[in-house]
Amino acid sequence: MINLLFDSIADIASAWVVGVTLLQLTMVVSAMVELRRLRQRDRHQVWRRVVGSPLAPRISVLVPAYNEEVTVCETVTGLLAMSYPNLEIVVINDGSPDNTVQVLIDRFDLRAVHPVYQRVIETADVKSLYRSSQEPRLVLIDKFNGGKADSLNAGVNVATGDLVCAIDADTLVAPDALQQLVAPFVTDPNVVAVGGTVRLTNDSPVRAARVTQLVVPKKPLPALQAVEYVRAFIIGRLGWNPLGGNLIISGAFGVFSREKVLAAGGYEHSSIGEDMELIVRLRRRGYEEGESARVEFLPDPVAWTEAPEEARVLARQRNRWQRGLMDVLLRHKTMIFNPKYKSAGLLSMPFFFVVEFLSPIVEAISLSLLLVGLLAGLVDPASLWILGAAYGFGTAVTLLTLWFDDVAFHSYPRFSFRLKLAAYAMVEQVIYRQMTIVWRLWGIRLFLQGRTEWGQQVRKGFTTS
């Protein structure tokens, strides 16, 4: 009996990996169809001109900052240089113990003002509100620490735009990104949120708060993440557009209808995955109130962010993501397989439950048993070939997304870059994948212990040239 169980372990693990990879392949096909549609629409769009006119809706860009003294000025400079005509930048210092406020005051000549705004969403107390004498579009909120969600809520309260764009303080945004992200809101009143692609800046030269050329990071860990980001944004975001819309808009870069966010009560303070939670809540409210609440992803508007370069920082990030996912799945568990929530209930939520939540558990159990079985001589070593083949299939899908990304966006336009990416894609499935499983299991354990803290972030700063 035990022999039979151990004999089938490798097959179960392989079947699981192949099953997940097939789901990902489906998403790649869906992404291809969607990209063709978006390209056709984009080629003939009139938005670039129209949203440059006085008719453009006002956007307030919210930049929550906690210990971001290294990158925040560069980020704000980049945002102020954006070509969007009706823009407001709201930086929210969430009680940082470092010099985040002071570097902003010095750089932009900020002065304290008394705010004229309505506190629709309850937040931690605001200490002071600053405006710049050089740049009237810039507002700084200095508040007591309350977490990222609390900071974003304070920003939503103070913002005067019809739309709010949430970005991380270590994120740089392409100059015309907002023009493109606004388009779905103008064309479709049912759109509640739109997200764009995030890419990694590590080792890429930055001049005047712009990434002048995207390069493959030199260190292996960020380079592996670069491969992972390409796959995640094509499979995990773009592929969902034709299948009923996304459940995730990256916290690093997304635009929301301010009215809808206020009506939904803002970001959930107690949630560790506040960005995903808000999206799921907005969609859920839409279904429950009989209104369509669309969440779109556009691949072209690009933001750049710094990836963790150390394994322990990356581990913290991944376990936080896992806890965030579990938190959202638990809060909205009634949506899973519930036809009332249409595509969100029947497709997106089950997908996240199976692929993102169950996957690390099933894979970890299978691999552990396999290892034990091999050591005990209970498993035929030849069965490892099948598991290896499953990972090979996963690698093929990753390479397919890299090629797809090259065709569509020409992101890494050099022979050496492609060589590196292809090499990292080949090793990603057999080293990096198992590392992420461990980090995610750690996240599951912490979640079950009720741990909700973020952990400290370490910023290196952009490579300015």
Partner: protein, 421 residues
């Protein structure tokens, strides 16, 4: 097939994909570089043809005639539609010499909408009498209509302004926005047609949006009519349009709209009055500080700030209002002004009540006597003086301990509040 063969097949597929990805990418890089080089060359030649002297333009004429058509078309399409004067004449001449005008006309009649879009993008270069711009504006595909509207020069748009105005009712948002923008480019030449449209019974919201941005006094009479519409959105847009102009009677209409039942309309009216710098309306706007809607109170506070000294006088009076909402908004706005201008405007909270009646009367009398400038000067002097801790104006100061401001006093002074609590 053994397990090992399956393993080999899977990783063989991965390896093949990796090689394909690298090789395909490298070939594509070379192709992109060739295209970029050709396009750069086209741009260099075109810049001489369009912007240099006649001699220089003639010198590169031969090169211009031999430019690769595909790249030339791409560059010409991307050129700004507001290319005008000699540069546009020269580009038209070149387009004609290269036979591209005929090409554009043929594309405009194509059955495929994507080709008609190309024609719509290039139509600004065609002045041929046979070329029908209206045909593209009335195209059955919304992308073609939007592109056609967007690509018209101001002169071409002025010729077709009647059609553009009717397109403000198009089903497609893209078309409506492109047309709105184009009508703003046309400017005052669009006003007569807009007036006709405003007098119709149809959907006027988009027309009112254009009117709000054009700010032409000829539109006032018609806009006043729309402030009586049953649709609050129409009323608020009409109020915004009225506020952006300065036609006769607009201020009194906006004064009335400050008592409208819809808060959006009240906000638009208050904003309009402040943009028109209607100092006679300070009392009406002051009443709105106690409005039941926060948006209206905020608009009133900011409007009083924009109206200068008389407005600030009202704000300071409300620092001691019994209505906590009005008091709070007045303090916030005054603090914002103080931070901006570096002067202290708000007395300590524990100060005794001030005589708002006297303050309002002082402001109104100053305006009535056409002595607003003097009033502004004296108030500003008070504000800027080293008067703290008591910054209250002199007329009310003497009576301050005896007079208590409350809702009844405000009502008696300012009349029945329109949107009051």
């Amino acid at each position: 097939m053994t397990r090992f063969h399956i393993f080999l097949a899977a990783w063989g597929l991965s390896l093949a994909l990796a090689v394909f990805y690298i090789v395909w990418g490298s070939v594509n890089d070379v192709a992109q570089k060739v295209i970029a080089r050709r396009r750069r060359r086209v741009l260099e030649v075109l810049s001489v043809v369009l912007f240099e002297s006649d001699d220089d333009a003639a010198r590169v004429h031969e090169q211009a005639m031999q430019m690769p058509r595909r790249e030339l078309l791409a560059v010409v399409q991307s050129l700004a539609v507001d290319l005008n004067g000699q540069a546009r004449d020269r580009l038209q001449h070149l387009v004609r010499a290269l036979g591209l005008e005929r090409f554009i006309r043929r594309r405009a009649k194509s059955r495929r909408w994507r080709l008609r879009v190309q024609a719509a993008q290039l139509q600004y270069l065609v002045d041929h009498p046979d070329f029908d711009h209206r045909r593209l504006l009335e195209d059955r595909h919304h992308v073609v209509r939007a592109r056609a509207a967007e690509s018209l020069t101001a002169g071409q748009a002025a010729e077709h302004v009647d059609l553009l105005v009717t397109l403000l009712r198009d089903d497609s948002v893209a078309v409506r926005l492109a047309v709105q923008q184009k009508l703003l480019d046309v400017g005052s030449r669009a006003v007569p047609v807009l007036l006709e449209e405003l007098q119709g019974d149809g959907h006027v919201l988009e027309v009112l949006e254009v009117a709000a941005n054009l700010a032409d006094p000829r539109l006032v009479e018609s806009l006043v009519g729309h402030t009586r519409s049953d649709d609050p959105e129409v009323r608020s847009t009409a109020a915004r349009a009225l506020g952006s102009g300065s036609g006769p009677g607009a201020a009194s209409v906006l004064d009335e709209l400050c008592a409208d039942e819809d808060p959006e309309v009240r906000v638009a009216a208050i904003d309009g009055l402040s943009r028109m710098e209607s100092q006679a309306s300070v009392a009406t706007i002051g009443r709105a500080l106690g409005d039941r809607s926060w948006q209206v109170r905020r608009a009133a506070g900011l409007a009083l700030d924009r109206l200068g000294a008389p407005g600030r006088l009202i704000l300071r009076g409300h620092l001691h209002a019994t209505d906590p909402f009005a008091r709070d908004m007045a303090r916030q706005v005054l603090d914002a002004i103080a931070a901006r201008e570096g002067v202290v405007l708000t007395p300590p909270v524990e100060d005794p009540m001030v005589d708002i009646e006297a303050m309002v009367r002082a402001a109104e009398e100053a305006i009535e006597a056409d002595d607003a400038a003097e009033a502004v000067g004296s108030s500003a002097a008070e504000v800027g003086s080293s008067a703290p801790p008591d910054l209250r104006p002199t007329p009310s100061h003497d009576h301050a301990p005896d007079l208590v401001f409350d809702d009844a006093a405000l009502e008696a002074l300012l009349g029945s509040p329109g949107g009051g609590q």
